[in-house]
């Protein structure tokens, strides 16, 4: 078993702020929407908290965006510009989650710092981070001050449509959170990936760590090797990126 430094500090900070913000936004959002059915706090407080956390999420989004735009880790979202391989890997990954995992088959994806996500994660997170979250942020800002943005709101079809899009994304996240948390338990132990998101180090099977399928080209393999270390050893400062 080896430890790989997969999650750099900015990513971990972003992730946990994002996670807690999304949960808080969902909870306050539900309170705002279901006054009477849920009465944990007053609606006014819920709206105030929801707005503040919304702006926190907005700032945090830019932390994520800037980190990946200005670092070479952007490859985790699209490591290889090869649609055919991307499609093949997606099918293989889906087959693993839908059947192979039940039979104890190995995960076809081998995590490395520059190839952190499997094909399905990669496409999902790109959609979430580049479409879903920005849409939620924009609709949230419009709803935060409808009068100030009345022109844009009218252009989009009115406050009802803007709110509906906002709620549809809330519904999506309400679904996604279950799946995300569940998938996070599919490491070699139930808490392995969750711990890794705190420490930055993922524990990788030796076989996986060395495994590189014949014929598959990995441009970042050399970089990846630099930041592997045996369990128990301290990370070199150079590795923390």
């Amino acid at each position: 078993m080896q430890k790989l430094y997969i999650h750099p500090l900015p990513v971990r900070v972003w992730h946990w702020i994002n996670a807690s913000s999304v949960i808080a936004l969902i909870l306050t959002g539900l309170q705002i929407r279901y006054v009477g059915l849920i009465d944990v706090m007053s609606m006014r407080l819920a709206v105030t908290v929801h707005n503040w956390i919304g702006f926190l999420l907005l700032g945090n989004f830019f932390l994520w965006l800037c980190f990946y735009l200005f670092s070479d880790k952007i490859t985790i979202y699209h490591p290889e510009l090869n649609p055919k391989k991307y499609y093949r890997d997606s099918i293989r990954q889906a087959r693993f989650y839908g059947w192979g995992i039940f039979r104890g088959a190995p995960n076809p994806h081998h995590m490395t710092p520059y190839k952190k996500f499997n094909a399905l994660q990669s496409v999902s997170y790109q959609i979430i981070m580049l479409i879903v979250i920005p849409t939620q942020i924009v609709t949230g800002i419009l709803l935060w001050d409808v009068e100030r943005f009345s022109g844009i709101v009218a252009l989009l079809g009115g406050v009802r449509i803007v709110d509906t899009v906002h709620v549809l994304i809330l519904i999506f996240f309400a679904f996604f959170l279950f799946i995300h948390v569940y998938l996070a338990t599919l490491g070699h132990t139930a808490t392995a990936h969750i711990k890794a998101m705190f420490t930055g180090y993922e524990e990788i099977e030796d076989q996986d760590a060395e495994d590189s399928k014949p014929g598959e080209r990995d441009d970042n393999k050399d970089k990846d090797k630099q930041i592997r270390m045996p369990i128990g050893g301290p990370p070199s400062p150079l590795h923390i990126h």
């Binding site: 009477g36 007053s42 406050v159 309400a174 279950f178 799946i179 948390v181």
Partner: protein
Amino acid sequence: MTISNREDKSTAGRVHTGPCKPAVAMFLVWCAFSFVTTTTLASIPDDSLSAADEQCLKCHSFERLATTLGNGETLSLHVPGDVFAKSVHNWIGCESCHQEIDLGTHSRSTNKKTYANKRERSIALAKTCYQCHEDKSHQYEGSIHASLVESGNLAAPVCTDCHGSHTVKPKAAYETLTGAPCKNCHENIFAVYLESMHGQARSKLGHIEAPVCSDCHRAHDVNVASVEDRLKDACLGCHEDTKRAHKEWLPNAGLHLQAVSCAACHAPAARRRVDLLLYDSVAQRPVSENEIAPRLGDLPGPRESSKDGLDAKELWNLVRGINREGTAAEVTLRGRMEVVTGEQAHQMAWKSKALRDCESCHRDGAEPFQNVTVSLIRADGKRVSYGAEKEVLSSALSMNSVGGFYALGGTRIKLLDILLLLAVVAGASVPIVHLTMRKLLRKDK
């Protein structure tokens, strides 16, 4: 002539530059002052009448003097001389308004212009006022009162209905609680107003700045209170700090001030409703009945209640149908929370009693969303309301037609609630089923 002028000029020059300049200047000022005050005082009406007017009153002071109109109505021709003498019109005399009368033949019945009824006569004689009060007449012509008169409404007032014919008082007299002529027709509303904080402030606390009818509704260009923003502007005209004060505690304060009438919160005892006004967003004005005449058949009939009114699909079809007529108009429904009746709109309470809790409206089943109307403007300028089912506010079909009105919690779309429930159930099921499969199949293995 030339020489004389030259001499005058030189003399004048000496006066202005000589040593007695202050005395002469003071004399000229005194002369000017005397002229102005004398002429002004002469124009102020006193309680006396001219000889010509006294001549008219020789006959018209008889209380039983009357004539019969075309429909058989008896019209009193009695003019109380003492009252007329105290009116603001005493100085213009009888003849100024009754120019059609020829004194030589006045007593002969053949010279008398006959009217079908009193109403026709009042409307015809009101034009006389326009000769002097042109500005007010223009304001009146654009008012709801004038529209109603034109549409044949017998109760709608002309000049004399509010001001009287021979008893016209100074403007200030109408700006008091006792002098407001509005109460003659709007008696119920006036009674409610007197009990409101505005009425109480005026009558019991002596706040003369508290509004009477004309301060909000205007005196001559009276308009339908609920159609335009004029009434809201009247509120904001006195309560200038309203927007800032609301922003301190109310999220989206600007939107609330647009979509909620002042009375909806400041008359807490009133019943509320949501009115969806058919609005032409291209022309920026409410849609009138004439403009959608072919589609009027789709409406269920004017009513105040929402029972058996338009459902979401009918409303959607109505808006779509109007916009499909090939006109340049782009009709939408502009939603606004209002109180149900005009009387309730006058039940303004003290600020401390106004609704401030969000939960009054932003919850499922909240009272304001139980009563929904769709409205448009009649030819006479009045608003006419058609019933709609309350579900039009929470139906997915209303996404477009009622796109501009949405109250968090209160008018939430039910379909989204179902989707959320499904998402949570599906989200929770996937891990449970997947985990179960992993355990079961591994065991099997």
